[in-house]
């Protein structure tokens, strides 16, 4: 892959994941507000989360978007603010993405499945 193609796909992934996150964060916040205002108990929330495939699907998408977006953003920040760049940084960021993905999906599975 040419450097230009790689940079373009990174940029596209960053913007696409940002668009997904914009929706996910709003839904997530609305869900928190609803749950706390309704005074739902932890057990009631868990039973609702288990009741539909929508919750695991929604939060799985949320986690994937975070795992794409955060390492790419961090990559830019490291480059601009500290000059850190190169293969070693990219490998570390890929590992960071995997940690986010694995930890996030595990949490989603525990709560919603």
């Amino acid at each position: 892959m040419t450097p230009a193609r790689a940079a373009t796909l990174r940029w596209l992934a960053q913007r696409a994941s940002a668009a997904v996150l914009a929706v996910c964060v709003l839904v997530h916040l609305a869900t928190i507000l609803y749950a706390t205002r309704q005074g739902l108990s932890g057990a009631a929330m868990l039973s609702r989360a288990h009741a539909s495939f929508v919750w695991p699907a929604f939060y799985a998408i949320f986690v994937v978007a975070v795992a794409v977006h955060a390492p790419l953003g961090l990559r830019t920040i490291l480059d601009e603010w500290s000059g850190l760049r190169g293969r070693a940084v990219d490998v570390l960021l890929a590992a960071f993405a995997l940690v986010l993905l694995a930890g996030g999906l595990r949490a989603v599975a525990v709560v919603t499945l």
Binding site: T2, P3, A4, R5, A7, T8, L9, R10, W11, L12, D79, E80, W81, R85
Partner: protein
């Protein structure tokens, strides 16, 4: 006798480790910042170094930092920028200072070359003139961006250039955009590969300082966004 009104002018002297020096310059009607600098050099301190040529906003050589903002000094009236009759004049940011108000523009123009800023002809002198409709979409894109005078105001105003010194910057990318829309140019693919990089169009944060401060009212931010669109389209087609 009424005392002649004066401007309190503070000018950067020396290199990066230089210092400010204060001058009192007579206030005149319709006076430009370049007039002020010229007065200092001709009447107060002949050792002052600064750069200018055309004095009418065409050559792009007289840009300086005036009261904290990069401006073209020949077309900047003192009235517009020195409400309290104070002027602070420094060399442009993000470029090495040669002396006083003169910066070394080498890095700035090298980046034009890196961004594929040279026109690559596809026709010879024996070919007929290219016919390009003035109202074609590509020609309109060129029209909107072509009047750059290479003054460096956008480059000096760009936060990202300050953070990331290898960033090509607004002027070079704006130039690349005009050539990507030029039907006569034969290096569209190579140029796109040169600008679609981490140090190229993707480094732009769309702060729009370049667009706000461009003395020619160009919008390099829009040109850079155009390059991103072209690159994404090419990448999705597998052409990049």
């Amino acid at each position: 006798m009424i005392a002649e009104p004066t401007l309190a002018v503070r000018i950067w002297r020396g290199r990066a480790d230089g210092a400010w020096r204060d001058y009192a310059v007579p206030r005149r009607p319709a006076q430009t910042v370049l007039d002020v600098v010229t007065h200092v050099q001709r009447h107060l301190d002949p050792t002052l170094a600064y750069r200018f040529a055309c004095r009418v906003g065409m050559c792009g050589s007289c840009a300086m930092t005036v009261n904290g903002r990069a401006r073209w000094t020949c077309r900047t009236h003192v009235d517009a920028v020195a409400a309290d009759d104070r002027l602070e004049i420094a060399p442009l940011s993000h470029l090495p200072i040669v002396r006083d108000l003169v910066v070394d523009m080498t890095r700035f123009f090298d980046k034009w070359a890196q961004a594929g800023g040279a026109f690559v002809p596809t026709a010879s002198r024996r070919d007929d003139f290219a016919v390009i409709a003035p109202d074609s979409p590509a020609r309109r894109e060129v029209d909107a961006a072509i009047e750059c005078i290479g003054c460096g105001v956008c480059y000096a105003s760009c936060d990202v250039v300050g953070w990331k010194p290898d960033y090509l910057g607004p002027a070079a990318l704006n130039r690349a955009w005009t050539l990507q829309n030029d039907a006569r140019d034969g290096a569209h693919d190579e140029r796109l590969r040169a600008v679609a990089t981490d140090a190229g169009c993707y480094a732009c944060h769309t702060h729009q300082s370049c667009t706000e401060r461009c003395p020619k009212q160009l919008a390099p931010t829009a040109s850079i966004a155009g390059l991103k669109r072209l690159a994404v389209r090419a990448a999705l087609k597998g052409a990049l």
